[in-house]
């Protein structure tokens, strides 16, 4: 009797344990009916004891446990073996959704009770999910590692290989089996047992966790000699512990290519030296026989003259002249190649300029006379002497004079020489002026560009002359001076050489210097180097920052503008008054007098008011600029294209700015062009208003002659459009019309156009006079009317 309460206690005790277990438990009898379940079961499956106890397990919760696998376990496995462990069951339970359950079953016999089956179920859904995630991440990492084209090895802290990537196995032609779990030094018959690698892995990586780009050159048994770039990182990889990732990049080919490039460079330098040497030798070899030809022909000529053998003398003279010409060509080519090779040197000496000019004049005289030209020498009394490379000065003058003689017929060639004081130094200025065919501004620019490209092909194209000009310019630059050219088509050209009266070694620019190879094209047109004030054709850059000035100068020069610059507002105003530029770029932030003050001063000056001013500022504040009368506003840093576009709209790159003839009738257009060109103007044409507007975007005209009746866009609309654009508002428009205008038409044009010319009913002379008058009224000061 005593035993009963005791047994009860035990049973209660057992039930308590069962209820405390956090895993759901089901107790089944051998017919698979639920005897009891624990709290965890009811909580997990959201069911009550009433709907559970005494039910067949398969009937529980609408048959949610009627799972074939479970049936097998309960009906087949348990009766024979009494137990099953960790059966994983994935199943969709109606109340709790899809779950992964780990089932454990035991058949127990508990004292007097009949046998029961304890079914324990562990919900491992979350665990499985995170395990799957982890696996996915690892696979993902492995995929990345395998995708990398560089061979990678993952080592553990003891330098055993955990894994390699595909690239590793492929590159080193090894399998995963012979790699994994091996010490790295054992791999491939110890091919990785390299002292440098040992140091890296054993000393450097443990200390600094990383090494980058270690270059290893090694003979690999399978691959041969390779250059590998090694990178290593030590990683903390969760349960894997510390790992070392070793990445190896085969840079053998790259290094080989680099070596080849270096070798090629060396070879080309050697070739260049060889070329220079060859040229030097060759020129000697060429000159020696030429010396004989020139010398003997000269000798014979002297003798022929003495013996009065006139016909011989003449022919010998031709041999002599041709020989000298050939010699000159050879010398030019040699000089140019020397300049290119940076081997041209200056030989500075002091010499008398009058003597030099006399000699040059005497030498050039026969060439001048050949085209029936006259040579005038005009030299200042205080000319004196200079210190420079006499041979080069002589050659420069000779080249310019022979060029003038070549392109002028029955005209005059003037050599003017004077001494000028500038920037506290004396300069010698030579001007060679001819009355020859002249050059258009486009051709001038091209000419100077061709200068810079004077190579063998240029030589073939231009013959001696092109080289002569190129050399002249280079010589002058070497001596710290330059050559500038001004030309008017049909009227002639003036080449100006400007050299320091005392050339110093420091001043002299080495001939092969990169800067000299690509000279600033437009500096040749830069009026800042010209002491003679003439109508300006320059853009004035006002900026206190010298580097910005320099940059702007480069920008604008590249686009064909001639540039003057000023470093302060005061200086800017002074230069503006002096040269009256075609446009001004104005920095806003300047000390003393800022851009706004300069702008106000410019707009207050009647002589400068019309000059378009483009404000340059770090701050985007265009309204203020426009209010004060700025033509445009550009923010820094300056976009070269944009600036150039704006400037072209406000001015033109190749002054004098053209006169635009807008006229649909080709014959009338041609006759207008003819008339204007004879007045010395540059002319551009458009066949209707639309074409004219497009043209004006590219280049600002100084004056517009406008026909009214045109297709596409007529003159009325065009005039309105022009006046809408602030920057074009000041361009005078002269309407050329065939008939009288109606009052309505006059009203439409009112305020838009300055003058109205009538084509009909007046003679050509009268029209010409009217045009001339329009030119005088509107644009004369800006036109270099010659």
């Amino acid at each position: 009797m005593n035993q009963k309460p005791f047994v009860d206690d035990i049973e209660t005790y057992a039930q308590d344990i069962v209820d405390t277990v956090r895993e759901p438990l089901l107790m089944l009898d051998t017919s698979l009916r639920v005897q009891s379940a624990n709290r965890a079961f009811y909580e997990t499956f959201h069911v009550s004891p009433e709907e559970t106890e005494d039910q067949l397990i398969y009937e529980l919760g609408n048959g949610q446990w009627d799972i074939p696998d479970l049936r097998t376990l309960l009906e087949d496995v348990i009766p024979t073996s009494s137990v099953f462990n960790d059966f994983e069951l994935e199943h969709s339970f109606p109340r709790i959704g899809r779950r992964v359950m780990l089932l454990n079953g035991r058949k127990l016999r508990a004292g007097s009770h009949s046998a029961i089956i304890v079914l324990a179920m562990e919900d491992v859904t979350e665990r499985r999910r995170s395990e799957a995630d982890l696996r996915a991440i690892e696979t993902y990492a492995q995929d990345i590692v395998d995708t990398v084209r560089e061979p990678l090895l993952i080592l553990d802290a003891t330098l055993r290989v955990q894994s390699g990537n595909r690239a590793f196995y492929r590159t080193f032609r090894v399998s995963a089996e012979e790699t994994e779990n091996h010490l790295i030094y054992e791999l491939g018959n110890g091919q990785w047992d390299i002292p440098a690698l040992r140091t890296l892995l054993e000393d450097i990586v443990p200390k600094s966790s990383v090494f980058n780009d270690f270059e290893l050159e090694h003979d690999f048994p399978e691959l041969g000699r390779r250059v590998m770039l090694l990178n290593a990182r030590m990683l903390q990889a969760g349960h894997h512990g510390e790992l070392v990732v070793l990445a190896m990049e085969d840079v053998t080919e790259r290094r080989r290519a680099e070596e080849e490039v270096a070798k090629a460079k060396e070879a080309s330098e050697l070739a260049n030296q060889t070329k220079s040497l060859f040229l030097a030798n060759m020129s000697h070899e060429l000159r020696t026989p030429l010396n004989a030809i020139v010398g003997y022909s000269e000798m014979l000529q002297e003798e022929a003259v003495e013996r009065e053998l006139d016909s011989f003398s003449e022919d010998l003279g031709k041999i002599n002249a041709s020989g000298k010409h050939l010699l000159a060509l050879i010398n030019d080519i040699l000089d140019l190649s020397k300049i290119e090779a940076g081997k041209m040197e200056l030989f500075l000496e002091s010499f008398d300029l009058n003597t030099l000019i006399d000699e040059v004049a005497a030498t050039i005289q026969p060439m001048v006379e050949r085209n029936s030209n006259k040579l005038h020498i005009d030299r200042a009394a205080d000319l004196g002497g200079m210190r420079a490379d006499q041979v080069k000065v002589r050659q420069a003058l000779f080249n310019l004079l022979s060029n003038a003689a070549k392109f002028t017929h029955e005209g005059s060639i003037t050599l003017n020489a004077e001494r000028e004081r500038m920037d506290e130094a004396d300069w010698i200025v030579f001007r060679v002026t001819d009355t020859g065919i002249g050059l258009t501004p486009e051709k001038i620019v091209k000419l100077f560009q061709d200068f810079t490209q004077a190579d063998a092909s240029t030589t073939r194209k231009f013959g001696g002359t092109g080289l002569g000009l190129a050399l002249t310019r280079r010589f002058c630059q070497m001596m710290g001076g330059d050559v500038t050219l001004r030309s008017v088509p049909g009227k002639g050209s003036t080449f100006t050489i400007k050299l320091p009266a005392i050339v110093t070694e420091e001043r002299a620019e080495p001939g092969g210097d990169g800067a000299a190879v690509s000279p600033d094209v437009i500096s040749a047109l830069d009026r800042s180097t010209d002491p003679h004030p003439e109508p300006s054709t320059c853009v004035l850059v006002i900026d206190d920052d010298p580097s910005q000035r320099d940059l702007m100068k480069r920008f604008l020069s590249k686009d064909g503008f001639c540039v003057r610059s000023a470093g302060s507002g005061e200086e800017g105003l002074r230069v503006a008054r002096e040269i009256v530029p075609i446009a001004i770029t104005l920095d806003v932030m300047m000390p003393d007098m800022d851009g706004w003050a300069v702008l106000e001063a410019l707009k207050a000056d009647a002589a400068l008011r019309e000059i378009p001013v483009i404000m340059l500022s770090m701050v985007d504040d265009p309204d203020r600029g426009f209010t004060l009368g700025a033509a445009d506003y550009v923010t820094k840093p300056v976009n070269r294209r944009r600036l150039s576009k704006i400037l072209k709209r406000h001015s033109c790159a190749n002054p004098p700015c053209p006169i635009l003839v807008v006229e649909d009738d080709a014959a009338t257009r041609a006759s207008m062009r003819n008339m204007l060109e004879r007045l010395g103007c540059r002319v551009s044409e458009a066949e209707n208003g639309e074409a004219a507007l497009a043209m004006m975007q590219r280049e600002r005209p100084s004056l517009i002659f406008l026909d009214l009746m045109m297709p596409v866009m007529d003159g009325f609309t065009f005039a309105e459009q022009v006046r809408i654009h602030l920057e074009w508002r000041t361009i005078p428009i002269v309407v050329v019309t065939a008939a009288d205008l109606t009052s309505e038409e006059r009203r439409r044009l009112n305020g838009y156009v300055g003058t109205i010319l009538k084509k009909a009913g007046c003679t050509k002379e009268e029209l010409l006079n009217q045009v001339r008058e329009a030119l005088d009224n509107c644009a004369a000061p800006r036109l270099v009317a010659v």
Binding site: H284, T288, A292, V294, G295, M299, E302, F347, D389
Partner: protein, 132 residues
């Protein structure tokens, strides 16, 4: 009649220049390399030496240095004949002690001018000698 020593290895140049100088009234002595040139200068003591620079045996610069170092020849003016516009050659020539230089190809009037500046005119001298 001024005596000119022409040291020049190129036969044509030598022949040409010597004949032209003779026609201008100079007596011309010839040497074909630097060593012989120096020897001849010492034995003949000419009024002026025209020295090619690229000479065999010893070159023009070295020959000039020797001439200018020796008491009996150092007063003799030496005109270096250098290749066109080779400023290094010219510099070297002046450093070696040359009194002037001229570039090849020879332009006779120019060379004569330089010679006259150093020793007085050939023809003129010979004229005056003949006159005397």
């Amino acid at each position: 009649m001024p005596r000119i020593l022409l040291i020049e290895d190129n036969e044509l140049n030598r022949d040409m220049l010597s004949r032209r100088l003779q026609r201008k009234g100079y007596e011309v002595l010839i040497a074909v390399d630097g060593q012989r040139g120096v020897a001849m200068a010492q034995s003949e003591v000419p009024d002026l030496i025209l020295m090619d620079m690229s000479l065999p045996v010893i070159d023009g610069w070295e020959a000039t240095r020797r001439l200018k170092a020796a008491g009996e020849t150092k007063h003799i003016p030496v005109i270096a004949l250098t290749a066109h516009a080779m400023s290094t050659d010219r510099d070297k020539a002046m450093e070696a002690g040359c009194d002037d230089y001229d570039t090849k190809p020879i332009e006779l009037p120019r060379l004569l001018g330089k010679m006259e500046a150093l020793i007085g005119g050939g023809e003129k001298t010979s004229d005056s000698e003949e006159g005397a």
